[in-house]
């Protein structure tokens, strides 16, 4: 089932990418990123059947990171919203050079 898993991973990942590209709502974009991470997890799990349990360990790490990322990211979104009253990324250009 490796090929199917990888195909599914790719498809989910691409859907996440498309979501990032078409959405402007920071929260939805965030969710898309989560989707992409999860999709990658599927790869790890799929491969763990062939390469040993290390893959599953990595999934644990990815989950930790994505949890941390969600916490910090959402905190930032809250902070930005407080400041700007919007989470529309088009209106937020603090990075403008």
């Amino acid at each position: 089932m490796l090929a199917e898993s990888l195909a599914l991973t790719a498809a989910l990942f691409i859907i996440g990418v498309i979501g990032v590209l078409v959405h402007r709502n920071a929260i939805i974009i965030f969710m898309c990123v989560e989707l992409m991470l999860t999709a990658v997890n599927l790869t790890f799990v799929a491969f763990s059947r062939f390469y040993g349990t290390a893959g599953q360990v990595f999934v644990v790490f990815v989950m930790t990171v994505s949890a941390a990322e969600a916490a910090v990211g959402l905190a930032i979104i809250i902070a930005i919203f407080r400041h700007r009253q919007t989470i529309n990324l088009q209106d937020i250009n603090l990075l403008k050079g």
Binding site: M1, L2, A3, E4, S5, A7, L8, A10, A11, L12, I14, I15, V17, I18, L21, V22, H23, R24, N25, I27, I28, M31, C32, E34, L35, T38, N41, L42, V45, A46, S48, F50, Y51, G52, T53, A54, Q56, V57, V59, F61, M63, T64, V65, S66, A67, A68, E69, A70, A71, V72, L74, A75, I77, I78, A79, F81, R82, H83, I87, N88
Partner: protein, 183 residues
């Protein structure tokens, strides 16, 4: 080489795969954050099922607990906190042109990935054929992940705990909002 799978197994594998895919497609087309979040939870569940089918029972459980249970709840919580539930409040998605372009880019990427996957699919297994089953019997579902985690990857594991600590501290500081006002 992969083992032969029974039809029952294959059917369910495909079923959950299709559900995950379909939910993801619906998720990505939603404009309301709440709806999107719920559809994403659906995808997560399907994936959890796939994990279990792929002999990663512990991960499957974690997927449900952490992603569907914790992270997505936080998302919903934030959405509600900021009162962003109404899609009309936001001109969220980009125009049709952008969406088409995104679709084309996505298709392009997908095809490229497919080509790469097909070309580079591993033909040989590194571990014995029934390695995971043996591990499962020897250590049970949790031990199978825990053993390497606390032996081989101990340092990385400890570092992730530091990461989480920092993330908590950061989230608290950012969320308190005082720094924002100070600026």
């Amino acid at each position: 080489m992969e083992p032969h799978y029974p039809l029952f197994y294959v059917f369910h594998f495909y079923l959950f795969g299709v559900i995950a895919l379909a939910s993801a497609v619906v998720f990505v087309t939603r404009k309301s954050p709440v709806a999107a979040a719920l559809w994403l939870v659906n995808t997560m569940f399907s994936l959890a099922a796939l994990y279990v089918m792929l002999d990663a029972q512990f991960i499957g459980v974690m997927q449900v607990l952490v992603y569907a249970g914790a992270i997505m709840v936080v998302f919903l919580f934030v959405v509600m906190l900021l009162n962003l539930g109404h899609p009309s409040a936001l001109a969220d998605a980009r125009g049709l042109g952008w969406r088409l372009a995104a679709g084309l880019v996505g298709l392009g990427l997908l095809s490229e990935i497919m080509i790469i996957i097909r070309a580079k699919l591993p033909q040989q297994l590194i571990v014995p054929r029934d390695f995971n089953e043996q591990q499962l019997e020897k250590l049970n579902a949790v031990g199978m992940v825990a053993a390497p985690l606390f032996r081989d990857y101990l340092l990385a594991f400890e570092l992730t705990s530091v990461l989480l600590l920092v993330a908590i501290a950061g989230a608290v500081i950012l969320g308190r909002g005082r720094t924002v006002r100070a600026r």
